[in-house]
Symmetry: C2
Subunit: 596 residues, 2 copies
């Protein structure tokens, strides 16, 4: 078995940190309590461990391939996707009206982590389909929903997001694809889209492309972009497939990682125009796309957690098996499994604590999302919405950046074997590097954090969260154990640094944007670090309670040590980041452009 889903840790975080009992009191989610979560996660684990994870390495050495306009997925992927769909996993979080399971994001999030840990390339297909479903749920007509959503949920069709063009990456204002209105109410779409994940493949009967384009005569910039459904095969009134649409894959990319996931260049309209239908209103495409994007950003954050966990599990296995050198304390007479060596343990603890911290942060945010949608009280919905939105750039940015560190350590634990591809550790290192880039680079997440999430409300949401963190610190101090006091100390230092940075950002974004944006990624890393550490601090309190009750001693003791490790090895980075944000602009802005 190369992957064991961390069901126990997920359930702990759901119960103790994300308060699944409260989620199960939300209208419409009454059946989604702890027992449901446990049953769903165990079933999900089985599929991912037994069916999807074994295909991960196969996808690396035998990537999806392109020939004559067609893409063939890695052998085995199509059958696995059929099982995934048949099991209802695509519809887990979607409305029962369209064939979904209607479960909360909290449970869905754990399942998303699993499939990504099992096989990131594979998981991207349902991740993108989720985004397409979300966009149609939000802005589609009843007819569009009825036509497309059930078939995406049952896996007959899949979905894509078509944003990027060669000249329009992070900057979507430069999108040039165009849409010409037709007398029958449809549009003809022309243009080139690149980096389209699972943009062409043979795992489903049809592919539902959601495409950004400008209607003839639309304004320049982001306010002139509309969103269209452009299916690979046109759909007849009865839902059956019609003619092949004028959208064609002209090549797929040769990438460093996630090689089984085909990254397509799609050409629209070379033979007269691809037929599309408008989603929502003209010129509001970016707004709808951001709905997909925000869901996708959260999902990419989980990919970071997922790849990190897989790398951790592989490294632990190797560290238990590989025998080399005597322990430095002389506790064993001869060479020992390297897990006995302090630096190997330090690396494993770094991997573990970052992974668990980011998982906890993500699940807590998922519960807030659920409350923001389903809570009966408007003010509570609003607070949860603000919390969730603040967390999204951190989940996306910090969890993916930490996955680079974790997968690098994963290779390092293996020594020379880590550099040999067949070992498997290198694949995680290569796969992870896309996570800090797609669906908005870390800098784009940081811009969001600075602009929409901090500066816009003068830091109010950030400070409200800091207030909650302070309560956790107080509880840790009141607890008075060695570990709780150690964690409280670091958490206080980190929270104080966070507030200073929030004040700096809220105060200077307008007056000195270059200074603030020179520190934006450091702010993101600081905030993400703190939020994950906060959740581990809460986990420590819960674990001490459970330990006192004699529950699951080894697991609870490990939780306490993990929180302690994170505090002394990861939270300790926060004050330095504060210094870089607050004092670091000169080193960035003083450099003459010609001098680089």
């Amino acid at each position: 078995m190369t992957y064991r889903a961390p069901v126990k840790d997920m359930l702990f975080a759901m119960k103790e940190l994300a308060n699944i009992d409260a989620v199960a009191q939300l209208p419409g989610l009454e059946d989604a309590g702890f027992d449901t979560a446990q049953a769903v996660l165990e079933e999900c684990a089985r599929l991912n461990e037994e069916v999807i994870a074994p295909l991960n390495w196969e996808g690396d050495i035998n990537p999806s391939s392109f020939k004559d306009g067609k893409v063939s997925a890695t052998p085995g992927f199509k059958e696995a996707f059929q099982q995934f769909s048949a099991g209802g996993w695509q519809g887990l979080h979607h409305p029962t009206d369209f064939g979904g399971q209607g479960l909360p994001k909290l449970i869905h999030a754990a399942c998303i982590e699993m499939v990504n840990a099992a096989n990131t390339s594979f998981a991207l297909c349902p991740l993108l389909t989720d985004g397409a479903i979300e966009a149609l749920l939000t802005a589609g007509t009843d007819e569009q929903r009825a036509t497309f959503i059930p078939k995406m949920i049952d896996g007959t069709w899949t979905g894509t997001m078509n944003l990027t063009e060669p000249q329009a990456g992070s900057d979507l204002s430069m999108v040039r694809s165009r849409a010409e209105p037709q007398p029958d109410g449809t549009y003809k779409i022309f243009g080139t889209k690149i980096y389209i994940t699972w943009g062409e493949h043979d795992m489903a009967e049809n592919i539902v492309h959601l495409v950004l384009a400008r209607v003839t005569g639309a304004p320049e910039g982001v306010k002139g972009i509309s969103l269209f459904i452009v299916p690979k095969f046109l759909v007849n009134a009865d839902g059956s497939l019609g003619e092949r649409n004028d959208v064609h894959c002209v090549s797929i990319e040769h990438k460093m990682g996630i090689k089984a996931s085909p990254t397509a260049v799609l050409q629209y309209g070379d033979n007269g125009g691809a037929i599309g239908t408008l989603v929502g209103q003209e010129n509001r495409g970016l707004e709808y796309m951001f709905i997909m994007m925000n869901a996708a950003r959260y999902g990419v954050g989980l990919q970071g957690v997922a790849v990190a966990d897989r790398a951790y599990q592989r490294a632990v296995q190797y560290a238990r098996d590989r025998v080399q050198s005597r322990p430095v304390d002389g506790s064993l007479p001869g060479a020992a499994p390297i897990i006995h060596h302090p630096d190997v343990r330090r690396m494993l603890m770094t991997m573990r604590s970052l992974t668990e911290g980011c998982r906890a942060m993500s699940l807590v945010a998922a519960a807030a999302y659920d409350a923001s949608h389903a809570h009966p009280d408007a003010e509570t919905r609003k607070q949860n919405q603000a919390f969730y939105e603040f967390m999204v750039p951190l989940i996306k940015g910090y969890s993916t950046e930490m996955s680079l560190e974790v997968t690098s350590l994963g290779v390092q634990v293996h020594g020379g074997m880590g550099f040999i591809e067949e070992t498997g550790a290198a694949q995680h290192y290569r796969d992870a590097k896309i996570l800090t880039i797609y669906e908005g680079t870390t800098a784009i997440q940081a811009n969001d954090l600075v602009g929409r999430k901090t500066s816009r409300d003068g830091g109010a949401t950030a400070k409200a969260i800091a207030g909650q963190i302070e309560q956790t610190e107080q509880a840790l101090v009141a607890r008075g154990s060695v570990a709780s006091l150690a964690v409280a100390k670091r958490l206080t230092a980190a929270r104080t640094a966070f507030i200073e940075v929030v004040d700096f950002v809220a105060g200077q974004t307008r007056s000195d944007p270059n200074a603030v944006f020179a520190g934006s990624v450091n702010y993101l890393m600081l905030a993400g670090n703190l939020m994950a550490g906060w959740q581990l601090g809460r986990a420590l309190l819960a674990a001490e309670d459970r330990l006192a009750a004699g529950d699951d001693v080894e697991f609870m003791a490990a939780k306490i040590t993990t929180a302690r490790f994170y505090a002394d090895h990861i939270l300790t980075r926060v004050p330095g980041l504060r210094d870089s944000v607050v004092d670091g602009a000169a080193g960035v802005t003083d450099m003459a452009l010609e001098a680089f």
Copy 2:
């Protein structure tokens, strides 16, 4: 041109920081002054930029290949190696008696950086040959030297280091290859060696393997290991090639990076025994091997600097060319080259300052090496030796770890393009990952730093260096410029943290080895960070002097900004590392092994 050798920055560091004028006063090095350095570096730059660098990508897509026991290098490599050898580059630092140039390590180091930046896979062949030459210079007989060294210097033959076996990686005490003494004074060698860089290839007529093995009846452990010369082809008394020796390549590895460099599994003695001759005395092999190893470790540190610089140059080029989004300060009306965006500049400055800092640290250490060998005063030699030896694990460990960060940022600057292999940024990311592993992992460097370099002398060398750093701080404070004061402040904080850690390490290594070794890598990162920052602080002082004299204004201003950036963004990491070392052991050692 994909690579421009940083000749100007190297010469600045040689003159202002490493004091090449003093090196040129050492007996035997009188001709090796600044003008010589300049001439040599410019010639070296030409070869690397024009001939060797263009083969880097070719080596990635068309790696060395194995068939029927033979390895073919990437097309073009053999011809480039002939030019490299014909130019005298292999012998640059070796004695003129054997056909070398007899130049100081200071100049050699800059040339080693260049060839590694141009093409790391290619550069490994001469790097390993250098190690073999060093070992024979140290411990070989006159006959061995005369037979092997000139032909390695002129490129007719190349050299390898054969340490690792499947069960003996970091732990060489587990070496099992054996050597049976023969009546004629030779030995028959039997065993399997793995990870042998350039262990088989077609670029030279012969390959001189230096092999660790145990003589029949030798003691267990590291004290029973001897070193042997085992040439691929036996060498006749007249120096001509004789029979094929019984050493055979049975496979090469499929690696994540440095793909053009063949990593061989070598089988010794399957057909009766490979004939080897002893180097030096029996059972002292590890000692001799460490001579090669220390030279190689320093060289691997330069590989880190080299790959980082290449990644930096590529990222700057892309950031100048790629147009995307308006500047946040509204300074341009439309989309701008991304180098205008603060976070892109922050990433480039991180890459640049780490690279320049590590380069400066390496060159200063090279000058100390030269003084440790050639200075007429014994006490001066000894002090320089201690300084150099303290720096080697930092140069190896910190420069390679920083190269992971730099090459990751190099991909990040490219956005989605960075993940596409043809862009070239991904190759550096993949290549760099071996640098923290081979020739001793970062943890092995950290063990050396803790044990032999800090604990053994009670921290005396470390504190002597701290004293020198304090002098630099005082000079910075006395200078009183905005930049010098900012750098002084960070340097003082970092140096103070360093001393606390040195006291912790020197005081606890015996009494609580687990606690010290749990922090050993953090100590290494802290110390390396400080040493590189110290050199940039010295560079700032020199640059302000030169600026005051009106010299090369843009270059000197950039030096000042680079030091400032490093201080506020990289040195700021040091206090957090101190906390992790001093307080972080519990989080490492408390975890039950079963709980991982």
